[in-house]
Symmetry: none
Subunit: 228 residues, 2 copies
Amino acid sequence: MRILVIEDNSDIAANIGDFLADKGHVVDFAGDGVTGLHLAVVNDFDVIVLDLGLPGMDGLEVCRKLRQEAKRQTPVLMLTARDTLDNKLTGFDSGADDYMVKPFALQELAARIEVLGRRGKGNKSRVLQLADLTYNLDTLTISRAGKQIQLNPIGLKLLQSLMEAAPSVVTRQELETRVWGEELPDSDSLRVHIHGLRAAIDKPFDKPLIQTRHGIGYRMVDPDALPA
Amino acid sequence: MRILVIEDNSDIAANIGDFLADKGHVVDFAGDGVTGLHLAVVNDFDVIVLDLGLPGMDGLEVCRKLRQEAKRQTPVLMLTARDTLDNKLTGFDSGADDYMVKPFALQELAARIEVLGRRGKGNKSRVLQLADLTYNLDTLTISRAGKQIQLNPIGLKLLQSLMEAAPSVVTRQELETRVWGEELPDSDSLRVHIHGLRAAIDKPFDKPLIQTRHGIGYRMVDPDALPA
DNA sequence: GTCGGCTTTAACAAGACCTTAAGCCGCGCG
DNA sequence: CGCGCGGCTTAAGGTCTTGTTAAAGCCGAC
């Protein structure tokens, strides 16, 4: 996640920044309200951590301007030593999404940031891609070179397993377990399904993506991709 | 806003309820985890206030099930006397959106609820739309191509679930949970209701919007929409 | 108490899907 | 070069899922 920390105390800022960076986030800093507001308006952060005691423009002011003038809805977590009820209410009133009182545990801060960031990313769709083949796991739609492709439940599972593993080889056994769990069918019907999968995905097109590893299993690979 | 308060101490519950009602919210109550979860799954609240110390099913459990099994994203504000960092982190981990420690000021609770509700509303408008089909969640009015459509309560819930998820596939199981909660009917009456829904929404018109994914579930999609 | 609408149950038909089996092909090893 | 194992292909049969319809049960309104 991209996070903006607006905080004038550089020790605290570095402290927070390090911790969040450790968690895998990208952190930007601003030491005063004006530059903070500017960064917040111009860039696209997932969350803003905003200290209230700032030189120049107060944190409350920053938040208010961000919401009312810039009309940005970026989640704001306020950070302050002011712990009276009135202070909190004012904070929320100026458009904050959360409010933490110093001193606080960095882990709680991280957890609350996580929650705030979760919101925006709600409608990310999970999509697998390989060469010109696309598999949307939400809509269960498959398309290759712009053409829609229909697949059975088993075909879907196979394709997902293969695409997730690509370009690695997937054992027959692994594939079978993925589809049927522990209770495999008596005969080797995996072959039939692979055949069906090929008929749908490879046959109508020029370059086959599914390869056979004799005696081992199958794999999917983009034949045009540069070898790593 | 519609708010669900899950709290076994009826004094506290009444206290919170009164205060929120004063602020103009509509408040429902549950005295234990099981009924709370059921209400949360079947109904559509803007925010859920969840006490952790509940008889029967624990609050954390309720939250976890709401998220993972029922797949509902309704904002949850946890309320508890447990104020250690670990407790908080566990709360957020189980899917909470906010966490308040008793004792707390009712006004802060109200402010935080306001924020949570605000965010939810930003994402989903009260009018669902797909192709020429419109479903107004406030008036419970449905119309397609200018014609009004009448639907049963169950039909409404199904339609809402499908339209909110569209164009993603919704599992039969998810649909059933959404309509009946944990206690499903003995026979597969979902089929009959889907049939009814189709009769009302698709049959009288040219292009069907409801599709079947054999062995998985259903989805709604605008057949004319450009594939992304 | 009766009526009407809604929901559930049940039964059948139609369709999609999966497995099985059998023949053919091809690679790899002797 | 030939054999065998493993893989490919295809079609038929059976099973499971879904669509459809009708009737019975439930509940609230009048």
